[in-house]
């Protein structure tokens, strides 16, 4: 029998069955996503009913009195992530420039590989290293000299090693591979003719980079930064091991703090009562929404600049 004959038997031909099965697994993805959103909303409802939108701006987090406010965690999440971005951006751009413009071809692959290996290290290991190596270094060598500047709000307080600065530095190291590899890929796609045009006009090598390549890659780099931000916002283990786990809001880098993810990780297993759990789930919902928004923003940006097919193979 030829395949055409089998088709005439009706919808039960092997072709349609196979297509149907694989399509159902594709639809499963939608079901899973729906399930995630549904469960997060359902379990946050008790907390939402008790606190409403004040949850997002209240500073009180007291499980004993059953009072829950998310502001210290939201603050800590964004503060540490922005510190990480400020530290990671120059280094990531430097790496991207090095790999895309400066490195000889034989050096590109090994160095890219090594930097990507940084991304493969589990968050837990970063936390371990941060707790036992970075924190003491900060406490004894980096923070004491900085505390001479304690007229600035960023350096007030006693150097403990653990705290916002440690968390920011670790997050920076963790997002460097993300930002640098996407920026590098975007810079690869800058047409050689543009660089040659710059050189023909008499620019030095660096001027070609800073006035031609980087501006051309502006949107892609922004997308990379936003993706890095998304990664930093959701990091849990590394942060919870070095940030000091104190729900307070302070500008000082020496002070301990708390992030949404760290709070959930620390309190969920031993939460007191349904309201506590619901508040933690609501925190998770907030984090989920923030991550989704950030990721979609990055995707949209990359889509916008890829409309001409310029970013084929960048891997976003």
């Amino acid at each position: 029998m030829m395949p055409q004959d089998i088709k005439r038997k009706g919808r039960l031909d092997p072709e349609s069955v196979f297509k149907g099965i694989t399509a159902s697994f594709a639809a499963l993805v939608l079901l899973v996503a729906g399930g995630v959103v549904y469960e997060l909303i359902v379990f946050s409802l008790p907390a939402f009913k008790s606190f409403g939108l004040k949850f997002l701006v209240s500073k009180e987090w007291d499980p004993v009195q059953q009072l829950f406010g998310a502001l210290p965690f939201i603050w800590g999440t964004f503060y540490t992530s922005f510190i990480a971005l400020i530290l990671a951006l120059p280094i990531s751009l430097g790496i991207a420039v090095f790999l895309s413009e400066l490195a000889p071809p034989w050096l590109r692959t090994p160095v890219s590989f090594l930097i990507e290996l940084l991304a493969a290290i589990p968050s837990l290991i970063y936390g371990l290293w941060g707790l036992f190596v970075l924190a003491p270094v900060l406490q004894h060598y980096i923070e004491p000299p900085l505390s001479k500047f304690d007229f600035l709000p960023f350096f007030k307080g006693y150097p403990l090693g653990l705290g916002i600065m440690a968390a920011g530095i670790i997050l920076a190291i963790m997002i460097i591979p993300t930002i640098s590899s996407i920026s590098r890929d975007v810079m690869y796609t800058v047409p050689q003719a543009q660089r040659e045009g710059g050189l023909a006009l008499g620019m030095t090598r660096w001027e070609v980079v800073s006035r031609v390549v980087v501006p051309y890659s502006r949107s892609g780099i922004l997308g990379a930064v936003i993706l890095g931000l998304g990664r930093a916002l959701g990091e849990t283990m590394a942060v919870t091991m070095v940030i000091g786990n104190t729900p307070q809001m302070s500008l000082s880098l020496f002070q301990p703090g708390y992030t949404i993810a760290a709070a959930i990780a620390n309190e969920f297993a031993e939460a007191i009562g349904k309201l506590h759990i619901s508040a933690l789930v609501e925190l998770g919902l907030v984090l989920f929404v923030i991550s989704i928004v950030v990721n979609i923003a990055a995707k949209f940006l990359m889509w916008k600049i890829n409309r001409g097919g310029a970013l084929k193979g960048v891997g976003i």
């Binding site: 639809a27 493969a120 959701g234 959930i264």
Partner: protein, 283 residues
């Protein structure tokens, strides 16, 4: 003369920034070696056969190991893979071979969005889905959390691999009269099998080191446990518990566990990328 000076200044500034960029690369690679070097050197002293054969002992009693945690990790990750790998590959087959319309684009978009879900949120969802109905922590809830994390990764990497199978192979098979679905299974998937395995290994490496989603799903267990409906010790959770404890002997064990974890992750990543590089996937 002034013009020469200006040019020299531009050159000097350029050299400075180019040096900065080389320094950044060195800095990042330096961090890698610092972190890996420290973990591996600390861990290699703490690791011994006991680690893989004995159960944890109470504080103060020397010796003991994390045998149950190692086995537990294998079981929890194994169960997660059992569910997410076939489902992910099947979905990727649909997206790559049949997906041209709005449905496929939407699924791709949702899958990418799911890929950005933080690990801890996956843990919360698994808690809601499994821990609450079962009234207790269980290995299976941990697997659900990990499967949630693995699914988008596998779909994305499998689809990428399928894209690299040349259309000429598909067309040749169809030209010979092979039905489309057989072509997909016997030609496309078969050709892609190496890349698929690599993608799965990378997903396992990524998920095997996660502690956050397991903290309140599979939780921890210091005894041998093979029941999926009971809490099960896993390497990352045990590592975390020991690392933040105040006991020096537990810190030693934490380094040993870190050594095992890092070695596993490194091994999987390096072999996966070597394989992909050999097959010509330029990065």
């Amino acid at each position: 003369m002034g013009r020469d000076l200006r040019y020299m200044k531009r050159k000097a500034v350029g050299h400075f920034w180019l040096a900065f960029s080389v320094l950044s690369a060195l800095c990042a690679v330096g961090f890698l070696f610092w972190i890996l070097g420290y973990v591996l050197s600390k861990g290699v002293h703490a690791i011994n056969m006991d680690f893989f054969t004995k159960l944890p002992t109470p504080v103060g009693i020397p010796g003991g190991g994390m045998a149950n945690a190692v086995v537990g990790s294998i079981i929890v990750v194994g169960m997660a893979s059992l569910v997410s790998v076939p489902a992910g590959i099947a979905a990727a087959i649909y997206l790559s071979e049949y997906g041209r319309g709005m449905f496929a684009s939407f699924v791709r978009f949702v899958s990418d969005v799911l890929a950005g879900v933080p690990a801890i949120v996956a843990g919360i969802v698994a808690y809601a889905l499994v821990v609450v109905p079962l009234h207790g922590f269980s290995a299976i809830s941990g697997s659900v959390a990990l499967a949630l994390l693995m699914l988008p990764i596998i779909i994305r990497s499998a689809e990428e691999i399928f894209k690299t199978v040349p259309d000429s192979l598909r067309e040749a098979s169809l030209a010979l009269g092979v039905p489309r679905w057989v072509t997909v299974l016997r030609v496309v998937v078969k050709t892609a099998s190496g890349g698929l395995v690599t993608g799965v290994l990378l997903a396992i490496a990524r998920v095997g080191g996660e502690a956050a989603p397991l903290l309140f799903t599979s939780s921890s267990n210091v005894f041998w446990s093979f029941k999926p409906t009971q809490p099960m010790g896993t390497l990352p959770v045990q590592l975390f518990t020991y690392a933040i404890s105040p006991y020096e002997e537990w810190h030693e064990m934490a380094w040993a566990a870190a050594f095992v974890l890092v070695s596993m992750v490194l091994l999987l990543n390096i072999s996966a990328r070597l394989y992909l590089a050999r097959k010509g996937f330029k990065r």
